[in-house]
């Protein structure tokens, strides 16, 4: 850390402290803005998660404030960048509570940062809407913690139900060795028997590997493999599907929801053709049926986001979209910005049609999603095509 950096941080902290004392004066508290905190991994290895989330929350806040705010009160965002570091996230979580006095927190881009911040918000009794994938975040249910992304189990289940529909029963799993992929691999193995799927071969790859032909060679050598499932995220699955094409493999290929982005298709350079994946409805955009309840919010978010940032929407921004709107809707319904009332209203969310899924929270389900938010899509001509559901 250089001197300028230290000085910069110092002034920021002073500024925040001054602002905190200012807002704490009772006369101001009543009409002051509603403070919502967000600790996101805007930079660092998880920046692909935090970056669209930051852009999304800023865009939505502007939209709400332009309409006069919630119940006449404007929203004030306090965003911190944890750089993907769980320790930093915890520090910022404490700062949100002690200095910034937020009434709700929407953030936590990764499972790691979320898990480290979770006790802080539980203790302070501030509602915490997380963007973490893992189920541990809401299971067992914690009073103040909610999350928006589908779990890895749901992705596995969606893939397996498609396999079952195609009458494929024995698969090879080629998983990454990063946290996301490991977790999804474990969930897939655990849920496979429910769909009569047998995992007959397992391989793995590192998140920075640049050639997966040895693994694929082994899979090719197993005659009983009927399909290949790749739990993985980042660049490695893109290289894997390139190698898949290079080696002219023809087995049905499934990749994870972690690579549900146009970037993946582009990086795969044609290798992803024919591959299937579970994708949130958001990514289908105008390919969603006209009577699809998610079509309207999806089109609105996509249009606004792309116009504002010039970048395509991603599922990760969608987690923020749904989470943030559920919280602001809760504040609106509660007609109060008291943390406890916000929490109660978030938990009372019924059929909130988001871009990532349709949520119905209950006291025992703080994720509130079923399998419908995921759609199986096939990559064709560099784009997603929905695969018709077979029941």
């Amino acid at each position: 850390m250089n001197l300028i950096d230290i000085l910069g941080k110092g002034t920021k902290i002073l500024g925040a402290a001054a602002a905190a004392t200012f807002f704490m004066s009772p006369a101001f508290a009543a009409s002051g803005p509603i403070k919502i905190g967000a600790v996101l991994s805007v930079t660092g290895p998880a920046s692909f998660l935090g970056d669209p989330q930051k852009k999304t929350i800023e865009m939505l806040t502007e939209q709400i404030n332009a309409k006069g705010g919630i119940n006449g009160q404007k929203i004030e965002l306090v965003i911190y960048d944890d750089g993907g570091d769980a320790n930093a996230a915890r520090t910022f979580a404490n700062r949100l509570i002690d200095q910034d006095k937020v009434v709700a927190m929407v953030g936590g881009s990764t499972t790691g940062t979320t898990m480290s911040m979770l006790p802080v918000f539980e203790d302070a009794e501030i509602p915490f809407m997380s963007m973490a994938g893992a189920l541990q975040v809401v299971q067992p249910t914690k009073k103040w913690v909610f999350k928006t992304p589908q779990t890895d189990t749901m992705a596995c289940e969606k893939i397996f139900s498609d396999l079952k529909a195609r009458k494929l029963t024995s698969i090879a799993l080629i998983s990454g060795t990063d946290g996301f992929a490991r977790s999804m691999r474990d969930q897939c193995v655990a849920v496979a028997p429910k769909y009569d799927i047998k995992v007959v071969n397992e391989e793995s790859f590192g998140p920075r590997d640049s050639d997966m032909t040895p693994q694929l060679t082994n899979v090719r050598g197993k005659s009983d493999v009927q399909a290949v499932v790749v739990p993985g995220i980042g660049q490695a699955p893109a290289i894997l599907v390139r190698n898949y094409k290079q080696m002219n493999l023809t087995l049905p290929l499934y990749v994870s929801h972690g690579v549900a982005s146009k970037e993946f298709i582009k990086l795969a350079e044609g290798g992803a053709e024919g591959a299937r994946l579970p994708a949130p409805a958001l990514l289908l955009g105008d390919k969603l049926a006209a009577d699809d309840p998610q079509r309207a919010p999806v089109m609105e978010y996509t249009g606004n986001y792309e116009k504002r940032t010039g970048q395509p929407v991603s599922a990760f921004g969608a987690f923020m979209h749904d989470g943030f709107l559920m919280v602001t809707n809760a504040i609106e319904r509660a007609k109060s910005s008291a943390p406890a009332k916000i929490r109660d209203q978030v938990e009372a969310t019924k059929r909130f049609v988001g871009v990532n899924g349709i949520y119905t929270m209950t006291p025992t389900d703080h994720m509130g999603l079923d399998l419908t938010g995921f759609r199986i899509v096939e990559i064709r001509n560099g784009d997603w095509v929905p695969v018709p559901e077979t029941k």
Binding site: E203, R208, S210, T213, I239, Q246, M247
Partner: protein
């Protein structure tokens, strides 16, 4: 089974060729300054990312390659001028730590100048795999190999045939004597940084269509390149190439024949064994202390 083994070999040299080129850069700087430069992988990243962005702006590929290589070379010069040269006289360990810091700094700057996404370059000669005994290799991997061969040959000619190249050898063998015969050793060490960075940059560009490029790709390349250079023998250019290819092959065969989960462990295990048996590396020269 033959097909499988050939596939492992092809995979190994695809991966190993990149390690080899990074290791070569390590060797050059080590020879000139006895510093293991851990920003070496970041040169490759700078080269690749610059080429990606330049070619995306519509510049022809050849020009993008040149600009990318030049950007890496410039980074190498800046690293020498503003870090290594300032700290000359510090112990070698201090300089090595300095290069680690420089690597982190370069990564940070690249994140701001470029972006945080993964990028790829279009392959030069299409993406139709070449079939060898049923196994396949992408044309671009052969480009990396050929590029590596050309760089090694060029470097060998440079050090053996040109006065400047011989000067580099002389300065690395005996710095004091080189000073005494009137050579400007600082210029020569600076040159070693520039050439080594250019090689790193070129390696990154050649490999980008296969391995993809991102701002944080350098760290792992540095580690693997360093491992390859140690394996082959620090200071030996031929050893760097051998070490790189060997490392790639061990990873491919370990991953293919035994278990892909422990692929990296095999590579490091082999390095450990080699270094126990031959601490100077496969082709390294035994260091002798004069009394």
């Amino acid at each position: 089974m033959t097909t499988d083994l050939v596939q492992y070999v092809l995979s190994g040299i695809t991966v190993g060729a990149v390690y080899a080129l990074v290791a070569l850069g390590f060797t050059l700087i080590y020879n000139a300054s006895h510093v293991a430069n851990f920003a070496q992988g970041d040169f490759a990243m700078i080269g690749a990312m610059t080429a990606v962005f330049v070619s995306a702006s519509g510049v022809p590929m050849v020009a993008a390659i040149l600009v990318g290589t030049a950007a890496a070379a410039a980074t190498g010069y800046l690293l020498y001028q503003f870090a290594i040269d300032r700290a000359r006289g510090s112990p070698v360990l201090g300089l090595i730590v300095l290069t680690i810091g420089a690597g982190i700094f370069i990564k940070g700057v690249a994140q701001l100048v470029f972006d945080k996404r993964f990028h790829s370059l279009p392959p030069w000669f299409g993406d139709h795999p070449i079939n060898i005994l049923g196994a396949t290799i992408l044309p671009q991997s052969i480009v990396v190999l050929c590029g590596g061969a050309i760089v090694v040959t060029g470097l060998a000619l440079f050090t053996s045939r040109t006065l400047l190249g011989k000067g580099m050898l002389a300065a690395s063998q005996n710095t004091l004597a080189a000073y005494l015969v009137g050579m400007n050793v600082r210029v020569i060490v600076a040159l070693a940084f520039v050439i080594s960075a250019a090689i790193g940059g070129l390696a990154g560009i050649l490999a980008a269509p296969v391995t993809l490029a991102s701002y944080d790709a350098g760290t792992l390349l540095s580690l693997k390149g360093f491992a390859a250079a140690m394996l082959g023998g620090m200071g030996s250019p031929a050893g760097a190439i051998l070490g790189g290819l060997l490392l790639g092959l061990v990873e491919a065969f370990g991953g293919g024949l035994i278990s892909s989960a422990y692929k990296d462990s095999f590579a490091f295990l082999v390095i450990l064994v080699v270094l126990f048996v031959r601490p100077q590396g496969l082709l390294g020269e035994q260091s002798r202390d004069r009394v």
